[in-house]
Subunit: 336 residues, 2 copies
């Protein structure tokens, strides 16, 4: 049965450091009405992503900051419940960047259809969505893996890291994951085929553990976390190493500019490349990426993990949990 | 008149921090005799280069460390005084990587001929040698300058920086140099055509001065120095900025791993690329580079500056002077 109200999650306070529940507020409003060219969507899944933390600061970045007292915004899979567009009919499943709420209005250009026959529709927010594409383009376009090379991925059990490691295996690399629990490292090795994985929380000496895990040094470091973990990996890079910078989750809640050992001398000595990127840099190649990821999924070369929290009312909790490393795989909220 | 002894400069102590004269020793030995396939060279010019500081540490790097109590080694232009090679005759002028001494023996593959009709032979150690090629490949292959972009170069008045800025002007960029004296900044602007230049020693607020000098932000930062200067430039990069890492002279004498603000968050936010390189990565394209640099020189699109110290006995002083920023242009020692 359809709800008669629209619950929404607002950002009501900009977090300083780690966000807490006081930054968010659940409110209700009327269900909006679509006009010509628009559809009304009922949210099925919300995507919960670390990059959203950056948008909570009032600071220039690659996406505009969230506005206070407005609905949070992120990746959504929804079902069309009313269509005033010729491109969509009731029942279509679509994905887009929309509000954290039960019902959204979307222009027909703002969403694209998802085919539920390829894979469960939630994958449009994970392996067949932004995280999958992020892994695909970051690893292949910047990392350029070659057979026999060693690839280290941090945040390895997250939405992006799990895919990075598996693609690197497809390319014939030795793959070493860094994650924050034994459950995660076991999953990476036993389920996803990583050659080995290190629990950075329990390893007595991370650099030493990495050195043992990477006897031939590190050719590619896919960096999701930054900070001390990255320092340890960068201390082991080989000549001509490549470092795709995808995320810096360990630093997102810092309230001052974080400091650390300067990395330029090492990049210089080893003729290494480091490149920041966001997946939208590759927007004109998304079709290629999704097609390839879907093929690998069908061929069972890729597996994916989801960490699903039930209920819109728990979305802020799921977001806060990202920074405690609670998620194994893609963090989602099932809304309906 | 030919000397009858061979003076040599040895490294007798590994410097800790800034090198001083106690690290070096001038000794004499007999003039060596070439055997088949070798030539005996009389040194005309020595090249004095910052990267040599790294080789004075007993540490793995892209070139092997200097050995204690052995002759220092660097770029040399010499004249063949005796040839036991079919490829060279007495009087030929050659360039190669050889000892800091009056006379050297070189295998015929270790040196290449220099044509004194193109430009003074000392340029084989500067604009038509490693520094010129370093500027050429670092700027063009990593920086990829486009018309109208803003290029900042640090160490701008040095052997590499002077060439980087001029090539960037040839490519239609706005060029901003950072150097350590008013004499240098004036030279960059008045003689080399830089759009502006900043004296980092006297600018009351470097970041502010840079911001004024780069109203459209920084698209390419050619980094010769590292440290605080680089922090200021990196704080102003644009989306898709490129940062060729060529040198880190401000850090070469550090005795502990230097720390500073972490740069990864900024590289990530701006999808920026940073890449370390050494000129030898481009060895298979040296002919192309030298040809192009020589053409620009002939067309008067490139000027070069040399800072020549007289006498082998002053070579260590010239080397130490690099770290005080004493040289404008290529630092050379004229030996004979």
């Amino acid at each position: 049965m359809q709800q008669q109200i629209n619950r929404q999650i607002l950002l009501v306070k900009r977090p300083i450091g780690i966000p807490d529940e006081s930054c968010f507020k659940l409110v209700t409003s009327a269900i909006p009405e679509p006009t010509n060219g628009q559809v009304l969507l009922r949210t099925r899944f919300l995507s919960v992503d670390p990059y959203m933390r950056g948008r909570m600061n009032d600071r220039k970045s690659y996406v505009a900051p969230f506005q206070l007292n407005e609905v949070l915004n992120g990746g959504i899979v929804g079902e069309v419940v009313e269509s005033k567009s010729n491109n969509f009919v009731k029942g279509d499943l679509v994905v887009g960047s929309l509000g954290w709420q039960d019902y959204s209005i979307a222009g027909e250009k703002e969403v694209r259809k998802v085919n539920p026959e390829i894979a469960p529709v939630s994958t449009a927010l994970g392996v067949l969505g932004m995280p999958g594409l992020t892994a695909y383009f970051g690893l292949l376009d910047i990392g350029k893996p070659k057979q026999g090379e060693t690839v280290v991925v941090s945040g390895a059990a997250g939405a992006v890291g799990t895919i990075v490691g598996q693609i690197a295996k497809i390319y014939g690399c030795r793959v070493v994951g860094i994650a924050g629990s034994d459950k995660k490292t076991k999953y990476l090795i036993d389920e996803l085929g990583f050659d080995t994985a290190i629990n950075y929380r329990t390893a007595p000496h991370l650099r030493k553990a990495l050195k043992e895990a990477c006897p031939d040094g590190v050719d590619i470091y896919f960096d999701n976390v930054g900070g001390d973990i990255s320092d340890a990996v960068i201390s082991l890079i080989n000549n001509n190493a490549r470092i795709p910078l995808c995320g810096q989750i360990s630093l997102y809640n810092e309230t001052q500019i974080p400091t650390g050992p300067r990395i330029q001398p090492r990049l210089l000595t080893y003729s290494a490349l480091m490149k920041g990127f966001i997946v939208h840099n590759y927007a004109d190649r998304f079709d290629e990426g999704i097609r390839q990821l879907a093929d690998w999924l069908k061929e069972k070369k890729l597996k994916y993990a989801e960490n699903v929290v039930e209920g819109l009312e728990n979305a802020s909790k799921a977001f806060i949990g990202l920074f405690a490393g609670e998620n194994l795989g893609k963090q989602l909220v099932k809304v309906s």
